[in-house]
């Protein structure tokens, strides 16, 4: 499934770690605190637990939103947009 991960984390160290975890899970960095990519149910669950351990539950915010492929195609992107095909794994390799 396609997953959005958005976060607002106060501590620099925890925030850097959160970004690293998202990228290790195979997500694509859309903005500084916003990641997008395709994960399996188990990968999503793992990422959720990892982020849960990093954050301070009193102040920080982490949102994990699933989205269907159809809904992603309907998304409006203005300006410097990301590549939808890259995110949905339609492009498997960047070089031929």
């Amino acid at each position: 499934m396609i997953i959005w991960v958005l976060y607002d984390i106060g501590k620099d160290k925890a925030r850097t770690k959160a970004a690293k975890r998202c990228q290790q899970a195979g997500l694509y960095r859309v903005q500084f605190s916003c990641f997008l990519g395709t994960l399996t149910q188990n990968q999503k669950d793992t990422l959720q637990l990892q982020l849960e351990e990093l954050i301070d539950e009193e102040t920080d915010k982490v949102y994990i939103f699933p989205m269907s492929r159809g809904e992603l195609q309907q998304t409006a992107l203005l300006g410097q947009a990301f590549d939808k095909k890259l995110v949905t794994d339609e492009i498997r390799a960047l070089f031929f």
Partner: protein, 195 residues
Amino acid sequence: MTLTPSHIIEHLFCPRFTYFEYVLAIPQYEEKNYKVMRGRNLHDERLERNKDYLRKRVGRPGAPVTEKHTDQYLTNELMRGVVDEVLGFGDGTMAPLDYKFAEYKDKVYETYRTQLYCYAWLIEVNFGRLVDRGFLVYTRSNNRVVEVPITEEDKLDVKQAAEAIFTIIDRNFYPKATKAKARCVTCTYRNICIK
């Protein structure tokens, strides 16, 4: 060599698993799996807390929980294992209790059942008392306790699986893969297994 419940579970998942891991000795790098490691640490954390607490509510009417043995290392001729808790009841029966770093999704999966069957067999051999059920504690569902019945056939199935594993390991036998193709998708040995 003695087996652990994990060997049995892996073997029932796919007999090739036993071959790759214990005949060819190819590791599956479990320590790189975050959820696996969280689950392992869970037992250490839990041991520190509520040492003397008896789970009275899991007893049957007229046969309350009377004793508990934590972290029991048990062995028999084929197998070894550490049971998180062995509970003793007033009617002379016993039951294993195992903690899981998992959520309860209205269904007890076969792997968890198998593990309890292994423990049941170990407890019967070591304590000489009947085991006809086991318990699972789902720590990610608010420590929900689920009872699992254990029959004689279940314990027999585990024994047969244990013998099958020794056939593979002792004779370097390359077994047929599981018929359930869905398991191949997430298997750690999918890249080296012959289809």
